[in-house]
């Protein structure tokens, strides 16, 4: 019971307090506005380039909108240092698995809202055609996109303790996702070393699966891709947790909690 309480209370408060927004206007502008205008920008550039149909860019950029949750989670974890709450966190007897992964749970739900908004934006403003889509597959792809983005955010949050700047890491990851997940550039066009990086990113297979579902492809064809991306996301999340625990051990051993 205590563990469940820690999970829910920790996740809710990390969402409300550490993400720096306390009213709806800030939420709308910062949280939802940015991904939507980025979607519009790349859709217009893609339309100008004409290499792919407009729907290619709309669908790709709508799917990667989950990156906003990745940003938020990495900030909520790394901001413990700047808020002065890191020593309390390290000193608390709370279960570390619950504490760490609880940071991402509300954001995962929030990412679903972002993704839904992105699709509404793409459909009603730009005319994204999903009339032949396999909707079960699309919904599953959206769910996997939100979960794997959040897991990647957990890793970035832990890594931000090393590089001291979550915004820098988050932005770097964001643009890597824009370029390398196939949202804007077909993977086949990228050099082989860049393709290798693409497959380690959490959204690459989900974007590919969503393209199949949007064209009316069968659910079974896309499920292996989604399962693989869930695995990639899980690997990033576990890597983040391992890094967090290692840093915590080092900080306790050296007595350098703020230097963590």
């Amino acid at each position: 019971m205590g563990t469940a309480r820690l999970f829910f209370v920790g996740s809710l408060f990390s969402y409300r307090a550490l993400f720096h927004w306390l009213n709806p206007s800030a939420y709308l502008f910062q949280k939802m506005g940015f991904p939507l205008v980025q979607l519009a920008f790349f859709a217009f550039v893609g339309r100008f380039g004409g290499a792919q149909p407009l729907d290619f860019y709309l669908l790709g950029n709508a799917m990667i909108v989950g990156f906003q949750a990745m940003f938020s989670i990495s900030s909520t974890i790394s901001d413990e240092r700047w808020q002065g709450t890191l020593p309390y966190l390290i000193g608390s007897p709370a279960n570390r698995v619950v504490l760490f992964f609880g940071r991402g749970s509300v954001h995962a739900l929030d990412a679903l809202v972002d993704l839904a908004a992105a699709f509404l934006f793409a459909i009603f403003l730009f005319g994204l055609d999903l009339s032949h889509a396999t909707w079960t597959g699309m919904l599953l792809a959206i769910l996997v996109a939100s979960l794997s983005s959040c897991a990647f955010g957990l890793f970035l949050g832990a890594a931000a303790y090393l590089v001291l700047d979550a915004a820098f890491l988050g932005n770097l990851a964001l643009f890597a996702i824009v370029l390398l997940t196939g949202a804007n550039v077909p993977l086949a066009e990228l050099p082989s070393w860049a393709q290798a990086i693409s497959w380690t990113l959490p959204l690459t297979r989900t974007v590919a699966a969503a393209r199949g579902f949007a064209a009316g492809g069968p659910l079974l064809d896309g499920l292996p891709l989604l399962a693989a991306d869930l695995g990639v996301g899980l690997a990033w999340g576990l890597a983040g947790f391992a890094l967090f625990r290692w840093l915590e051990t080092q900080a306790r051993r050296r007595g350098t909690l703020e230097g963590f």
Binding site: V37, Q38, R47, G49, A51, V178, V185
Partner: protein, 260 residues
Amino acid sequence: MKRWVRPFFATARLWLRFMATDRFMLFCVFFQPFFIAVTVMYMLRHQPSFDPVYVVVGSGLTGIWSVVLFDGTWAVQSERGYGTLELVVGSPASMAAIVAGKLAAGVVFSLTSMAFCYGIGAWLFGYEIAVREPAPFLVALVLAIVSLGAMGVLLAPLAILARAIGRFFTILEHPVYIFGGFLFPILLLPGWLHPVSYALPPYWAAVALHGTSSGDLGGVELLGVCAALIGSSVACILLALPFFRLVERRARVDGSLALT
């Protein structure tokens, strides 16, 4: 005159050093234009009339605008964060000169993004990149950075007078890429949105730089665009001055600057 010139240059020198070590600003100047240039190069290179200098100039502009936007928004807000805002306002030096010094440092620093994007096009993609009209391009570049800097001077007091507006500014990055026509012509936008572009100095900066780099803009047309750049710069400064006076009033008369 001394009240303006000395603080201007002293602030510019100090701010340049600050920016050169600020990870987020380094991201805006180097990493973001890098990813945008590479992504857009892939997206546009299949066009029959593809000109790599268009991507170099447009991506460089994104770097310059991002620095102006965040520098403008944070020029005054950062002083509040450091607890030095009242000291700045209370000093005999003009506050507008201090903010202008910060922004001048920002735009000078951001110019490296243009050179960086040139390197991406020339060395990473192996394109032969040539500016068709070098002398008019240089004139256009100077006027463009002055006009973008002037827009930053306008944003700075607005961001401090209302926190909600300051938050709104942080998502203006991509909308200005869109309305400025940095990487696609604004003809792709609905006609009723074109006046928004015409009202923005970044649009005229993009017209001048794209036009002179491709050799499509010359003579009377170039003079007209230069006049628009100068006019918009003057308009921004004139609009900003009453807001700076209001900031000073809130600090000196009302004593409520830190509370706004």
